[in-house]
């Protein structure tokens, strides 16, 4: 342990605010990114889960709040190149 006490660990000899601000921003942004991505995938999974029979010919939009990139989807993917 590089510090004598928990107080010293928090204070970092006066550099505490800088160090903790950096780590705080890092953790908050990474958590938002990870949780947000996870939730969005689950939301999209949910919207795919409806049985194919109950779909109308015009597929329902996935929740537009959680899926902004969905605007240009639904074109069936053709990988045929040759």
């Amino acid at each position: 342990m590089a510090f004598d006490s928990f107080g010293a660990f928090l204070a970092m000899e006066g550099h505490g605010p800088y160090v903790w601000a950096s780590y705080g921003v890092f953790f908050v942004l990474m958590a938002v990114l990870m949780v947000g991505s996870y939730r969005r995938r689950n939301a999209v999974l949910q919207s795919c889960r409806q049985p194919a029979g109950s779909r109308s010919s015009r597929a329902p939009e996935p929740d537009s709040d959680t899926a902004p990139a969905a605007a240009a989807s639904f074109t069936r993917v053709d990988v045929s190149q040759d």
Partner: protein, 249 residues
Amino acid sequence: MWQFFHKLGSPKWFYGIAARLMPWLLVLGLLCLGAGLVWGLAFAPKDYLQGNSYRIIFIHVPSAFLAQSVYIMMASAAVVTLVWRMKLADVFVKAAAPVGLVLTFISLFTGAVWGKPTWGTWWIWDARLTSMLILLFLYGGVIALDRAINDEKSAARAVAILVLVGVVNIPIIKYSVDWWNTLHQPATFKLTEKPSMPAEMWVPLLLSVIGLYLLFGWLACLRMQTEILIREQRTRWVQDLFHVNGGAR
């Protein structure tokens, strides 16, 4: 080899592989990053000159490193998009760009916070900091361009060209500290020399770099799965995915 390459282009195949890889990436990534950061914050010795403020390095360097690596990966995917028209490459670019944006922002922010106590300023227009800011705008531009074009194929092509054009910025970021006079110091880690810090400092740093790499892998898989599902939700295999699941229950 080409067969493998074509298999790689199959969204269905990738979806399955990603699902199997993701738990490993997440657990190992969190372990490595957690170990590196706790070690770096609480156990690594302080620096003789900068004291404890140097502990910001354990998040600053990994995020800056990843921000550039992610861009290089996106540029490689852009070549694949342009030459082979492979859908999965385009899916990767779209999934990775927001992650790259966040990582670049983190590295700029932590750099500014670190610069205040060590250099005496939050920001200075030196070559390293400016080229890193350009990287932030490039990521933003890629995301904006993709949103602006509605047609999937044109969007893929336009985004790929923008990503490729921007890749010249990467060597500029990397070598800016060697080519020009900058306030930013040269790299501590070099491929050919041993790092200019003792092991009890560079081991935790390396651990957090590896951890963040793995977490990026997890994020990329997750976000690519999302994009694939959106694009392919009406195809047979996506529907089968649920019917098999439903039958098992």
